[in-house]
């Protein structure tokens, strides 16, 4: 691992990743890398293991064989450092129904970054949720709840975004908004790993298709 200096090693490198779930092979010998300034779209049909792949990279799922590196260091030994630069939004959006968007974000941001109420209000405003800050989330639509969780993108200092099907419940405006956010994060030097069935209008978007092994 020493042929390159640390700074030039990619943010995330995946080598020979194989995952079998309940005796069924999801993917075998997956190889890819993701570096700052890049966005990678993971494609594949239902049950091809997209969510599992994202959860493996986040460290939520460890039923796999293969190797993963961050900046040339084995990920397995660097979870804490990796997690502090990671923002994951799963398809369960981590929005509690009885809490308000403001209360939800106060907590979920605190797990990573300090956040003040003004910043959260501003982020909610940008997600087009102004006026909903103090309504309980059960009164919000699914798309609005998705926006609450996506507001974390604006509040986070994480380098790597991992987004699992973030577009499913969003309306046209929401899709454009998120595409914009992703594009800007990449051009600002961040990295994005995203699963979606949408055709993304992003420059320099790379794609990884699962389910080709069978």
């Amino acid at each position: 691992m020493t042929e390159n200096s640390q700074a030039t090693r990619p943010l995330l490198e995946v080598r020979a990743l194989t995952c079998e779930r309940a005796d069924r092979l999801l993917f075998r010998d997956l190889e890819f890398s993701l570096d700052n300034g890049q966005a990678l779209q993971v494609k594949g049909g239902n049950g091809s293991g997209k969510t599992t792949l994202l959860r493996i990279i986040c460290g939520l799922n460890d039923s796999f064989a293969g190797e993963m590196y961050t900046r040339g260091e084995a990920l397995a030994a660097n979870w804490d450092a990796f997690h502090s630069g990671l923002l994951y939004i799963g398809h369960r959006v981590a929005v509690n129904h009885v809490l308000t968007p403001l209360e939800n974000l106060r907590w979920s941001c605190r797990l990573h970054d300090p956040a003040d109420d003004d910043g959260i209000r501003e982020a909610l405003d940008q997600m087009d949720l102004a006026g909903y800050e103090d309504s309980p989330c059960y009164s919000l639509s699914a798309g609005q709840q998705q926006r609450v969780s996506l507001a974390r993108l604006l509040l986070s200092s994480a380098e790597l975004w991992i987004l699992d099907e973030p577009f499913t419940t969003l309306d046209v405006d929401g899709v454009a908004l998120l595409e914009n956010l992703v594009a800007r994060h990449a051009s600002d030097g961040g990295a994005v790993l995203i699963t979606t069935h949408h055709k993304l209008a992003l420059p320099r978007l790379r794609a990884l298709t699962l389910g080709m092994t069978r």
Binding site: D23, D62, F64, A65, A74, A76
Partner: protein, 251 residues
């Protein structure tokens, strides 16, 4: 590099275990049969009746042996659980998985033989003032908990690790339960009409017979565990080449 996140089982390969035990089993079964026969025949026919308890003391030979063995289940499962969690060894989980129901059976047998013996010696089938029976009862409950957790979780991998963790917690807990029940018991002892002195027949011959029986029961435990684990190996590894060859040979 083989990190701890890697789900590969280089150590303790099921194939190795299967082949070794094929060679060991005849010896183990032979020894078990020998010790069981000697122990049972001696205890039932030749052991002189205890001067206080008469023939009832013969039950104790079995009871003490089974009780001693059933105490080893939680430590066994905790060790296997640690191996499962730290090294991800499939074999350890197969052993742990089969140990839980076996342990429940042994614990049940301990309770049953204890209460049969008690029905004659104490005049009652169940006696709360005997701390050994009470802590056995709670060990039985804890084992049932491990078994029901195993059956409730569908994903085999998750079930293996969840049960491993529960076995470790349970092992610590069984020790605490044992001491706290002992303590609780000594405080309630004065109110009990039954003297615990009756519980221990003496005489060197009784203890030798019991020792033979303990060895026999441990061998029985080993043979049962090996047989069930081999069974499990064949089921879980049914896609492996060597298992297919084995099945083909058997036909």
């Amino acid at each position: 590099m083989a990190g701890r996140w890697q789900w590969f089982h280089r150590l303790g390969s099921p194939k190795w275990f299967y082949e070794k035990t094929t060679r060991w089993l005849p010896w183990l079964v032979g020894a078990m049969a020998l010790f069981l026969t000697v122990g049972i025949v001696w205890a039932l026919l030749f052991l002189p009746p205890d001067y206080q308890q008469g023939h009832t003391s013969r039950i104790l030979v079995v009871h003490v042996a089974v009780a001693g063995t059933s105490l080893s289940f939680f430590p066994l499962m905790a060790v296997a659980g640690t191996v499962t969690l730290v090294w991800r060894m499939k074999l350890a989980d197969m052993v742990a998985r089969n140990a839980a129901p076996l342990g429940a059976w042994f614990t049940f047998l301990t309770l049953a033989t204890g209460s049969i013996w008690g029905s004659v010696s104490w005049g009652t089938w169940w006696e709360w003032t005997d701390s050994r029976l009470v802590s056995m009862l709670f060990q039985f409950f804890l084992l049932l908990g491990v078994i029901s957790l195993r059956s409730a979780i569908e994903n085999a991998e998750t079930a293996a690790r969840a049960c491993a963790l529960l076995s470790i917690v349970g092992c610590i807990n069984v020790v605490i339960i044992k001491y706290s029940v002992d303590w609780w018991n000594t405080l309630h002892q004065p109110s009990s009409p039954i003297s615990m002195e009756v519980g221990s027949p003496n005489g060197p011959e009784f203890w030798v017979a019991t020792a033979v029986m303990i060895v026999a029961v441990y061998l029985f435990l080993a043979v049962s565990l090996i047989l069930t684990t081999r069974n499990e190996i064949i089921q879980r590894e049914n896609k492996a080449q060597w298992v297919r060859e084995l099945v083909a040979q058997a036909r």
